[in-house]
Symmetry: C3
Subunit: 352 residues, 3 copies
């Protein structure tokens, strides 16, 4: 087997439920071409995107009665990868295709691309904000041509906000503040606290949206939490200065969680599910939309940086990059990833 | 020599005469970059698209007095691949380029891409409809990114009409009718007869065009005839029910021949010459145009299916596809192709 | 080391000064991704386009106080490839990146992509027309997908003007006139003299611009001068016939120098800096602009010829091209290039 770049026995976000309506959805994940569709119970199921009859892409077909009908010769595929029927054919001995455990939860569709005998739904991360009335969520999806670990690095070191996102969330004081990185259980945490500064435009908007003055000094925080395989939740916020910062009472701060699910598409590309969960004015849909739009514009600024970086690193495979304190979050996350992949491969070889 | 994927000592359709007017035509066939132009007798000739002076593409030049003039330095190439002249140069000892036997017949330009010592014009298939006053023909050309055998499969199993062409020629009864496949001499024939059904939209139009009621039940037939290297003629039609079907008198049926010449461009792409020959209202040009337009739209629906199938099969080289009864036509055609390629290679090695 | 296709210890034109203003310029030269920017003295400097921190492309950053600031995390790069600072970091031991000798001269930016210990500014070619009040210059830049030597061939054999540029500078008499090729010191010179002909459109315009009758016969000349690594200056002009041609008095001729700097981008692509220097009406900016526009259109005609030729030659690596008298200039230039590359590699191996 080739060198494996991803963890496979784990949950990734595959898509959002709205992406799978009447039409099947084609999506490659961890180098596997997949098709997603809704079965008779309207549950989303993921299968290999490969018709066992002649190799057509099932995603070009249609769904009828919860079966995925191949658009070429009408083979009907069931949601477990077993052929249900085909006009004028006995299908009992037709080969099956691989079905992948797929779970709809928290507004996302989760997939387990690895060994299906190891599937464990309890390993889907718990997202408390996703089930609470006090929180609102808005987000989007980008397809980016880079190694998934470059996006992990990006999100575990927010120093780049000062440069990449200078006009929205960046501010000079970020890279002047020291960063602290540690393990909390199986989680890598990178934190930065900035005190007594003026908020940048994005956060001034958030303060106003939260009915707070935006022209006074604030304390600001960023706490990036990485979990395997490649999920990063970032607690971010500002509080009117000298009220306890991160621990300030709700009516003196605006805070939220930047939600990042990074799903490898191939060795050289990712599906990046980004969004923001907030616990102020959760029922204000207009606010949700305007934050989503603003965040989308900001995160677009990372795309070219990451794609060019990926090309540069591919061109210079033997050149070492630096590992500074600000990089510690990414470095520790990569170490977790590498170790987990090795373990996964070791047990997979043992199983063989 | 690499594994050969195509038969070379045979006739393929290279282009249609209207494609080669004043300007030379560049076209790759069986991985060979070719240029077609008209010589002094207005005959179309095919040569390597390679100037023996410095390797320029002759197709970027122009034609003068039946010679192909290189657009770079004015070398004049004759229609047999021999350099005729070049300003201020003695050209007797210039290397020749390869000339390919090219014949204009039946409204197509035929080329023999293989060993030129084996060229035999009598092997060009006879197309009686193409020379008869009682028939009309209209057609077009698609460039599709797939192995040429996937298009052979496609055309030798019309079950796919129900799915790919649901709104025009497809109907549920097609895949309920059994299919019969046999050899007739060197020809693979796949037939399907459907009785006592209502005609789908395309055929209702044809009935009306033929001054026949379109709201009565019909018998319908499809007879696919494959000949080496990759030509498929499909007799199709509908007759008012219970009048003998295929053998019904002319005034009770609408019938035609779907004409398919598949010419490999490369291992991964084809030139697909499609069309329809009909023996009703042959002088009605408006009808010819409307049928061509309808057929073009229908055949466009196959493109994405075939291109995705080709990608899927390339990704899974060791995965076997099924060989059902409906696939028998394609399977037998592929067997003929494979055997003929082996023979061709064996005699070519012997010749060496 | 791979087979080297370019001379590296030499000066190439990298860009023009107007291309490097506030924003850094990314440009690949001889397969090396480079970034150009202006230092504190407004001098243009060329560095590897690679941030030593995490491999980001420095060209996506910005320039501040003559330092190139990485757009990812704010590392500040000095003009010698040494890191100057980074927020909150000690940078003394950061790895340097390679800096390339870069000189702004004659309206071009010159770069030495090879061994920096061998840099010698005196080897930049002397361009007298570029420093004289009596001359005007206008030019442009094309990015073409071909081996740089194909452009050398193109410019050392102007026979192609008759065919590629038939409607502007081409005329039948060019390829009827003999061509002479010789070495003058380290320079390859190809000349062609045509007497007593009518001037083609481009030159009729030039005669009129020079206040000379354009409806009388002229003598015409072309003298192509190739210098290593791949610079070609072509003296071209027309004089009213029988006044000494090339040597005719200034008031009886229109002449100029076609300026061609060919800089390899990769093995398969070039940066082609083209232009025209003239010593008549040097202060007529409108004339400069109209000549530039005309020349740009003419030179565009070469693009597809060269790109197709490059593809044809890649497809036929073992096929020999002809070496006719008209090709002698290109052949001799290639011989100089090949010999110089061998010498460069020999001394580089010796140095190791």
């Amino acid at each position: 087997m080739d060198k494996q770049n991803f963890l496979l026995n784990t949950w990734y976000v595959a898509c959002t439920p709205d992406e799978v309506q009447q039409k099947p959805l084609a999506r490659m994940i961890c180098n596997i071409p997949l098709v997603f569709f809704r079965n008779q119970d309207k549950q989303i199921k993921g299968l290999e995107d490969y018709c066992p009859h002649r190799g057509a892409a099932l995603s070009l077909g249609f769904v009828e009665n919860g079966q995925l009908v191949c658009g070429y010769h009408g083979l009907r595929m069931g949601d477990k990868g077993k052929v249900e029927s085909m006009p004028n054919q006995r299908v009992e001995n037709f080969p099956c295709i691989k079905a992948y455990a797929t779970v709809e939860r928290y507004g996302f569709v989760w997939i387990w691309p690895g060994d299906q005998s190891l599937v464990d739904e309890s390993l889907i991360p718990e997202l408390t904000w996703a089930t609470s009335e006090d929180w609102a969520y808005g987000g989007g999806l980008f397809n980016i041509n880079c190694d998934f670990r470059l996006m992990v690095d990006n999100l575990m070191d927010l120093t780049h906000e000062t440069y990449v996102h200078a006009s929205s969330i960046g501010q000079k004081e970020i890279d002047e503040a020291p960063v602290a990185t540690k393990m909390e259980g199986k989680q890598v945490v990178t934190s930065r606290f900035i005190t007594d500064v003026y908020a940048p435009p994005f956060w001034r908007n958030a303060l106003r949206a939260n009915d707070l003055a935006d022209d006074v000094k604030v304390d600001r925080w960023q706490e990036c939490r990485f979990d395997l395989p490649s999920h990063i939740m970032i607690e971010v916020g500002v509080a009117h200065a000298d009220n306890g910062g991160y621990n300030a009472p709700l009516n003196l701060k605006a805070s939220s969680i930047v939600v990042d699910f990074i799903t490898p598409e191939s060795d050289d590309s990712i599906w990046y599910f980004w969004g923001m969960a907030r616990n102020f004015k959760p029922h204000d849909q207009e606010l949700t939309d305007s934050i989503r739009e603003g965040q989308g514009k900001i995160f677009l600024e990372d795309l070219e940086v990451l794609e060019q970086q990926h090309k540069n690193l591919l061109r210079n495979p033997d050149r070492k990059v630096l590992k500074l304190d600000i990089d510690a979050g990414g470095v520790m996350a990569r170490r977790l990833i590498e170790r987990a992949i090795k373990q996964e491969q070791a047990s997979s070889n043992k199983a063989l």
